[in-house]
Structures are given as C-alpha cells and as structure tokens.
Amino acid sequence: MAALLEVKDLQVSVADREILHGLTLTVNEGEVHAIMGPNGSGKSTLSHVIAGKPGYEVTGGQILFKGEDLLEMEPNERAAKGVFLAFQYPVEIPGVATMNFLRTALNAQRKARGEDELSTPDFLKRVREVSGSLGIPQEMLKRGVNVGFSGGEKKRNEVLQMALFQPSLCILDEMDSGLDIDALRIASEGVNALRAPNRSMVVITHYQRLLDYIVPDVVHVMSKGKVVRSGGKELALELEANGYAQYQEAAA
C-alpha cells in the first residue's frame, strides 16, 4: 500500500514554545487512523499544521502528501490537492448562503486543479444527492454558513463538504465534541459512507466513544508532542480502561 501522508520527525513551535517534538506518522491509502491523547498533547496542532493554519512555526522535519512537500504549499493549494480538515468548531459566516459557499469553494478547488467549473444544474444535482443522504434539508443550505446551526448541524455541514469535495485525506478534529449520541451517529454514518480505498482519514479524539462508530485500522497515542504508542483498534479500549496517565509519565 502506498503512503498517502508521511509526517517525519516534525517539530512545531507556537510563539517560541515547542509543541511537537519530533512527531512521526505514516498513513497509507485507504486507512483510517485514530489519534488519541490527553488535552495539550498536540493533537489539534498536528491537524492545523497539516492543513496550513497560520501561527505555527515548523522548526524541523517534513510532511509529505502523495510524495510532495506539503509544507511548501499554500493552505488553499493543499485543499485543492485533497487535504480536508473537519473543524472542531466550524465558524459562522453571516450573509454568505451555504449553497453559495459550497459552490465557490468547489469551483475554486476545481480551478486550481485545472478542471472546468461545475455547471449550475450539475452542482445542484450533486448537492441534493449528498445532502439528502445526510438528512440535511435544502432550507438549511439557503441560510448563512453555520449561522444559527445546532452543534449537530454544524458537524453535518462539515461532512457534507467532505462528501462534496471528495478529498483524499480527511482530518476529523474532535468531531464528537458537543454532539449528543444521535447527532454523533448521523455524522459518523456520513463519514463511514466516505470510506474508500483511495481515501484516508485521521480521526482525532479524546474518547473511545467515537471509535465505536468510526472504527479505525490503526490507533496512535500522543503525549507531550510525540506519538508514544501505536496499535490496532483494541488499543483504544485499553486506553478507555486505563487512562492516559502511564503515557504521560513515559513521555516525560
């Protein structure tokens, strides 16, 4: 299996404080990896650096995506190449209708890849298919992006975009935060429907609970800016039973 994402000895600082101290991680095509770890272990930092969020300084190491140097690319280039970050807290954009946003983003990505813009009927058809399968009413798409959406609706809107853009790497940053069981189930079903041999996922979470719905191939434990242990899905259950304490000591 070919490696889709290779993070090699990554060191990252924020305001001169090192957060990631030489993190290494390889995600092959079609795999779902879970990254677990206590607060402050650097899970979200990793997801932000992969997506290219400003404010982080990479002081060492590299990230390859499909063999290319990801850190050399602008964040919107990364998106066009297939990197998608589902945000822990999706932002609200007042006055910009969700439908308009989806179309602008999709066409920006297509343009960057040298593809034609999608015609209006084709676009609408795709949105209807995808939103229908996620149980998102059309009325919601006329509203401002995430404006007045419930926690569950916001996360479903992230999954909707994932389904529409068809990225090759999906990073789900604490998708379970702020969701009740029903909302979590619906969002997870949407994510599972997107599992494919040419698509990989990195699922970041505190809790085992999410992994009952999105079952990972590999589980990594992060502590103090490093991956301290990797294993199969049973590792998540072990963590649930024993907590993170042993790893925090080990990393120190």
Binding site: A51, G52, K53, P54, G55, E74, P75, N76, A79, A80, F84, L85, F87, P90, V91, E92, I93, P94, G95, V96, F101, T104, A105, L106, A108, Q109, A112, G144, Q161, F165
Partner: protein
C-alpha cells in the same frame, strides 16, 4: 505569516494601480478664470444663458457664502482649502453646437465607453432577470445623463421619456424650458442658506440632472447620471433636482469617477428630492471618485448635501449608497418625513482604505404622524482609514407614532484603521419608538482560514466575507448596480484580485 496579517499588508499596498478609472481625457476645454468672485458667478450664469432670476438666486447665495465658515465638526482632517485657487467652471470646448450624439467630441464618447457607460441608446440586455412581481420585460433600459466636468454632454432616451410625460434633462436646460418647475422646487429642500458647501454650490453650480415625474406616472426606465471630473484644479458642483408628483414612482442611479491626480479636487454637490402624496423615489449612488494614492496623496474631497422631502402623505424616499472612493467623504443623505405616514430609508455601504476618511450617515426628521424610517449602515475600514457613521433620528412634537429602526455595523480589517459610530437620537414626542443596534467586529482569522481550507484564496475569502457583511444593503440596489458594486467592493479591498 498570519492570514489576517497578509491581508492587512496587501491592503496597505493598495495604490493607484487599483483605481481603474484614473485616466485623463485630452480635450480642449474652456475654463473660467481661477478663483471665486461675483464676476465668476455672473460668468457661469452668462455661459449658461440663464434668466435673471437664476443669476439673482446665485448672487444671493454667493453673498451669504461670504459670511459663512467651513464646518469642522466632522471627524475628518485635511489642509485648509484655498477657495481662490480653484477653477469653478470647465467645459469641453464644443467643436460646434451639439444637436445629437454624433456631434459630441469623440474623445468624450470614448471616455464614457471606457467607463462602461452606454451613451448610445442601447438597452442593457445581458444577465438581467425579471424581478419577482414585475412584468417580464424583454429588456431593461436605462436613460443616462452624462455630466463631464461642468456640463452635461448627453442625455439619452429623451423622446421615449417624453412620451411618458417624464422630464429628464440637464438642469441647465430645465432652467430655460421649465422655469416654473425649477423656480418652485429649487432650494425648497436644501435652501441656499443651508450649509457652507450647499451655499457654495448654489452660487456656482454648473450642471446636473433635473427630473420631473408627473402625477400617477411610473417612470418606464431607470434614470441615471454619470458624473466625471476630468479637468485639473477644477471643482465640480453639480445640482440635481428630482420631483415625483402625486402617485408617481422613479428610480434614479448616480455614478462618479475622476482621473488620478496628485492634488486634491473639490466636489460639492447638492441633491434635492421632493416626493408628493403617494409618490416614491429610490435614489442609488455608487461613488468611486479617485481616493488618493497609497501615501494619501491626491483624491477627491467629497462634500455633498443630499436631502429628500417626503412632502406628501404616504410618500417614500429611499437612499442607497455604496461609497468606495474619495479621499474625504462628508455626506448625509437625509429624509424630512413631513407627510403623514411617509417613510424614509437609508441603506449604506461605506468602505475606506489607505488614508481615506469617511464621515457619512443620514438624518431622519420625523414631522408627520405615523412616519417611519429605517437605517442600515455597513462601514468597512481597512488600511489607515477612519470610517465614521454619524446619524440623527428626531421626532418632533406633533410626530405621533414615529418609528425608526437603526442598525450600524462596522467591520475592521487590520489594526491601524478606525470605525466610529455617532448616533444622535431626539424624541420630543412620547409615542415615538426608536430602536438602535450597533456592532463592531474585526474580520476574524478563523473565518478566513476556514474559507482558505476549503480552497479559496486569501482575496476570495476576504471578498466573500465582506460581501456577506454588506449583503442586506447590496440587495437594495437595482440589479445592474448590485453586480458592479460587488466587484467594486472586492477591488477596493483586495489589492491583487483580477
């Protein structure tokens, strides 16, 4: 580099290259001697072959102006204007008497072509869908009056308008052909004594548009005036007078541009609107005078008095403005709600960048019973600019049941600009109900990053967020203008789009 920081830097770099209307038309022109005196006022009046009553009106204004001082209460800062160092009249030298469009100096026609203003009588067809509730018209027409420096050079669709009974002509022509209407209404909303700049305008105004819509007539097309300042060191003082008689309706658009020059230029216009019983006037402006370069050099000083009088019962006046240009903007399109049940509206997008200073807002003066008004103001400040909303809502003693709703939102881009809101609210009647909402926000890095993560470039992200912010106001503009305005907003803020 942080995304917002990049935007801020990019915005800071904006300079004259972004101003797309900065070219100069090389034509011979005829000017009055520099400076202002009674002789100059007489000169302008004589150039226009005006009747004596008009000259006397101007002279009275001029004498009053001599006793007035420039207002200093606005939050704008600029070196003192030397009113004797300006030309008060400039006209393209006519090759011969202009009888039809074909006889206009081709250089001027080219200028308007470059600006995208149709002076040929062609209907605008592209991309216009019929609006809900309106008959499906195969084409929408816009009649244009083009004012070049001090004179009107062409007015289109005159014959078709005449058939409907609508008078749309340069005000200099109206003074000759419809003196009874001009005498009755000129200065009836903005009197010659109103304020320093309005009084100056009354003395030296050279041209502008005149509109009269007779009772019960719905004006069959949008009326539009396009103002262009071309000459150097020349003030532009246009005067617009629009009268909507009982039960009539008219929608009027105004656009403005000027060449880029190192020195500042003065623009002091007066617009008067009169709406009689059951009449409605919709007045839209896209103001894009040259804003000055990245160091704040040059640009138009825009001191404008715009006021509408809802004189009749159930009348309505609606102002919509998109202000992106000018070094200094001093402008408060207002409504006097005199007639019972009359309604005033003010929708504004004011964008300032570079060293621009904007002090703009409105006055809603409730005099009649059950009058209502609505103010939606969106200010966007970037670069080192200062953007002030200044508004007055007042209900007089007899204005029972007066209602106002005001929402002022400001968006800041970067940390070197300022947004200010100065609302004055006076209710002298206990039954008045006034609501005021105001917000100030910064364009958030998280929002920009969200958009960029989905594939948008920095510029596209800023454009999207800003257009979302101003959407409520853009919707008020006639369709053709809304598209233009949306583009203009992106250009004004982004620096490297296109």
């Amino acid at each position: 580099m942080a995304a917002v920081q990049e935007t801020v830097d990019r915005v800071r770099q904006i300079d004259v290259d972004q101003y797309r209307y900065g070219f100069e038309t090389l034509i011979e022109s005829e000017k009055a001697p520099k400076g202002l005196s009674e002789d100059i006022v007489r000169f302008i009046s004589a150039k226009k072959n005006e009747p004596d009553w008009m000259l006397q009106w101007r002279l009275e204004a001029y004498r009053r102006w001599l006793t007035m001082v420039e207002p200093t209460w606005a939050r704008v800062d600029y070196p003192k204007i030397d009113f004797q160092d300006l030309y008060y009249y400039a006209a393209p030298k006519p090759k011969k008497t202009v009888g039809s469009l074909d006889e206009i100096d081709p250089e001027i026609l080219k200028t308007y072509e470059k600006l995208g203003i149709p002076l040929r009588e062609v209907a605008i067809l592209e991309g216009v869908e019929p609006r809900p509730g309106e008959p499906d018209t195969p084409s929408r027409k816009i009649a244009v009056d083009a004012v070049f420096d001090s004179v009107s050079v062409a007015t289109t669709f005159q014959a078709e308008l005449k058939k409907a009974g609508v008078i749309f002509m340069p005000i200099s022509e109206a003074i000759k052909h419809h003196p009874e209407l001009v005498q009755k209404y000129l200065g009836s909303v903005v009197p010659t004594s109103d304020n320093f700049y309005a009084t100056l305008n009354s003395a030296v105004f050279s041209d502008g548009s005149f509109v009269y819509v007779p009772p019960g007539v719905r004006c069959p097309m949008e009326l539009s005036t396009y103002f262009r300042i071309n000459e150097r060191n020349t003030g532009q003082f246009e005067r617009t007078l629009i009268i909507a008689d009982k039960g009539s309706y008219v929608s009027y658009l105004e656009g403005c541009t000027a060449p880029q020059r190192d020195e500042n230029q003065l623009h002091a216009a007066v617009v008067e609107l009169v709406a009689m019983d059951d009449a409605e006037i919709k007045y839209s402006t896209v103001q894009n005078w040259y804003p000055g370069n990245s160091e704040g050099k040059g640009g138009i000083y825009n001191f404008v008095t715009k006021r509408g009088d809802c004189r009749g019962a159930n009348s309505k006046i609606s102002w919509t403005q998109v202000e992106t240009g000018s070094a200094i903007t001093w402008k408060y399109p207002s409504c006097i709600l005199r007639g019972d049940n009359s309604r005033g509206e003010f929708y504004s997008i004011a964008i300032s960048n570079g060293y621009q200073q904007v002090d703009s807002g409105t006055k809603m003066i409730h005099l009649g019973k059950n009058t209502s008004s609505r103010i939606i103001s969106k200010g966007i400040a970037a670069g080192k600019s200062q953007n002030t909303y200044r508004g007055l809502v007042t209900a007089h003693r007899k204005a029972t049941g007066a209602r106002n709703f005001t929402a002022c939102d400001s968006l800041l881009i970067g940390d070197q600009c300022g947004a200010h809101t100065v609302p004055y609210i006076e209710a002298k009647n206990a039954s008045a109900l006034f609501e005021h909402e105001a917000t100030t926000s910064k364009i958030s890095e998280d929002v920009l990053f969200y958009c960029i993560q989905r594939g948008l470039s920095q510029e596209e992200a800023v454009g999207l967020v800003v257009n979302g912010f101003v959407k409520d106001v853009l919707q008020q503009l006639p369709m053709e203008f809304a598209v233009e305005a949306q583009k203009l907003i992106s250009i004004s803020l982004e620096g490297s789009v296109g």
